[in-house]
């Protein structure tokens, strides 16, 4: 009878003990893998957002709570459009672009659509240039040197998707999000009717993977007139130079526009980062639980196993099995359980992360193969450590005493 046969028979004869031990390991590994998996993709999402957006500042009505950066303008609270001119005239150093937005839900052929009013940069830069963008004739430092030469590349309508700001837009023109244009079969030069007015499609924006893809963008003043809201906006997006945002631009904005809430993308990301940090800590907690519960459960099962199998151990040793063989027998069984628990836990944890990640953390999650190695290694190490003392106890059993008990 080989070691493999003995282990197999042992597990087959006592399935309840086996399942109990395995379950403790599987559950702990599942939680560990699921949380770690979501954390990894959440961190990637944050890094991607930062890379994509640079340093942005959002100016919101005071009572608005920011849930989603891209849908930050989707609320009914408003602030006066006057703030846009105040910002432009203040000529704060580091403000590269100011984009006010007003969102109005409407319908086009029974399809709900968000009509977003935006103000072209040409109308804001005019005022901003009076003060030289706050840096008139000053020597530039770092990224404060954002220059604004008339440029057909940067002035193209597509720049709204890339830079979240648009240079020119007539009052009778609209820009379409890629999804909306595709669903309606609209293209550049086509006409459409919104809120009783006919607009010409200036351009179809490239896909961004955000809510902007399903929106229609028109001139802010047209949207205000058609919706009857008056000169108000839901949000003012400020493209701020990263260095300046870090060096007090937010404070200057807050003192310039009292009664508004100034949120930086760093704040937005801070929320996500704190969630990630919490999830990382949670994964460490589950690692500790895996060690404590899984280990304790395994140790207890192994001790019970040794006590229950005293006769069999004694017989094996009487037949010539060395203490080393007995130790290896118990440790091999533990390693097998650890490996099975680790792999099962990885599969289950990955499935949970893939299905529940988008729901709870709003990020697309995919299985991370490297986690399988980590999970299995941790599970095997924990079970080996937990079974070491019972195995040593078993190897020290005296076969004579065992037979005496019989």
């Amino acid at each position: 009878m080989t070691m493999r046969t003995i282990i197999w028979k042992e597990m087959k004869e006592r399935p309840t003990a086996l399942i109990a031990s395995l379950l403790a390991i599987i559950l702990s590994v599942t939680a560990l893998v699921a949380i770690r998996n979501v954390t990894i993709f959440s961190e990637q999402e944050v890094a991607g957002k930062l890379d994509e957006l640079g340093a942005n500042v959002l100016i919101l009505p005071e009572g608005v709570t920011l849930q989603d950066y891209y849908a930050a303008d989707m609320h009914k609270e408003t602030i006066p459009e006057e703030h846009v001119a105040e910002l432009a005239l203040a000529g704060l150093t580091g403000v590269e672009a100011i984009t006010p937005k007003l969102c109005v839900p409407t319908k086009l052929d029974d399809r709900n659509v968000i009509l977003t009013g935006i103000l072209p940069q040409s109308e804001i830069q005019k005022m901003n240039a009076w003060s030289g963008g706050g840096m008139l004739f000053k020597k530039h430092e770092g990224c404060k040197a954002k220059i604004n030469v008339a440029d057909e590349n940067l002035d193209a309508p597509d720049s709204l998707a890339e830079r979240r700001a648009l240079q020119h837009l007539n009052q009778s023109e609209v820009l379409l999000g890629s999804d909306f244009a595709a669903s309606k079969g609209l293209k550049e030069g086509d006409q459409l009717q919104l809120l009783g007015e006919t607009f010409e499609v200036l351009s179809v924006l490239p896909s961004t993977g955000t809510v902007d893809d399903s929106r229609v963008f028109a001139h802010l003043h047209t949207v205000q007139r058609l919706s009857g809201t008056g000169p108000v906006v839901n949000i003012i997006e400020v493209m701020g130079c990263c260095e300046d945002v870090a060096n007090g631009l937010v404070g200057e904005l807050q003192s310039l526009l009292p009664g508004t809430k100034v949120v930086t993308i760093a704040n937005v990301v801070e929320t996500q980062v704190s969630i990630n940090r919490m999830m990382t800590n949670l994964s460490y907690l589950f690692l500790a639980i895996l060690v404590a519960v899984g280990g304790a459960s395994m140790a207890s099962a192994s001790f019970a196993n040794v006590i229950e199998r005293r006769r069999e151990i004694g017989t094996l040793m009487a037949l010539g099995a060395t203490p080393r063989f007995v130790t290896q027998l118990f440790l091999a069984k533990a390693a097998l359980l650890g490996l099975a628990g680790g792999i099962s836990g990885y599969v289950l944890g990955s499935l949970i992360a893939v299905f529940l990640g988008p729901v709870f953390a709003s990020v697309a999650v995919f299985p991370v193969p490297s986690l399988a190695i980590v999970a299995s290694t941790v599970a095997v190490l924990v079970t080996l450590a937990a079974s070491y003392f019972p195995a040593r106890q078993a190897s020290r059993l005296d076969p004579c005493l065992c037979f005496k008990e019989v």
């Binding site: 008139l136 220059i147 604004n148």
Partner: protein
Amino acid sequence: MKSHTFLKLFKNNGIRLLAAGTLLVSMSNVSPAQNTPRVASLSKAEASRASAAEQNKYTFIMFWKDQDTTTKSMWSTLQQNLSDKNTASVVAVNTGDPQERKIVEQYGVSRAPMPLTLAVAPNGAVTGSYVKQINADYIQQAFVSPAKSRCMLNLQNRRMVLLCVNASNSTGIPNGVQNFQSMPCYKNAVEVITVSQSEPTERDFLNELRVPDSQNSSVIFMAPPGVMVGKFNNSVTSQQLIAELKKAGKSCGVEGCKHCK
């Protein structure tokens, strides 16, 4: 005899005489016809600004919505500080007045906080903007030198400026600047302005730019909205200017200046 001479003259120069006659008639008829509607279409504020520009004076345009205390106070400060000056005229514009709609749209101030005063130089550059409050110092700062107002106007029109500061013994534009300006992709985006270092009216402006007070000429490179791209001596090359411009165009999230890539 006389009629014969006229006939001969007409025969030899008939086409020229006809062309000259047509030109004279058209000038006498068309000129007033073109001027009349142009002057007539100007609003009070526009006419005031045009007249001030003709006289090489600044125009302080105060845009207002309500006759509240802030508006009254701003108007009174403007009157006190500018009424006795021959260098400026003051005009108030009610943004709700349909006749002034054109000037309100021109400056894009219909949604701006009011009252708002703009100081407009004779060349059209806005040399000062004041929201809700103004004082004597602010008013004084709005008067800038001719070279500075030219620089400001170009920067406000999103054009780059190469300011050539010539030492007393030199004139002209450095070769590097000329080469830069002649490049097809830059020629419409840059304005070359020359100024003499010894010009007393430009002293403050040159000090503001920290132009070294030396015997050598220098070149100051500025880009909109008001970025100092760099200062160079007169041996600067077009390649150096391009390199500095590209460096200055680098910013957050943007792969540098895409202009002339």
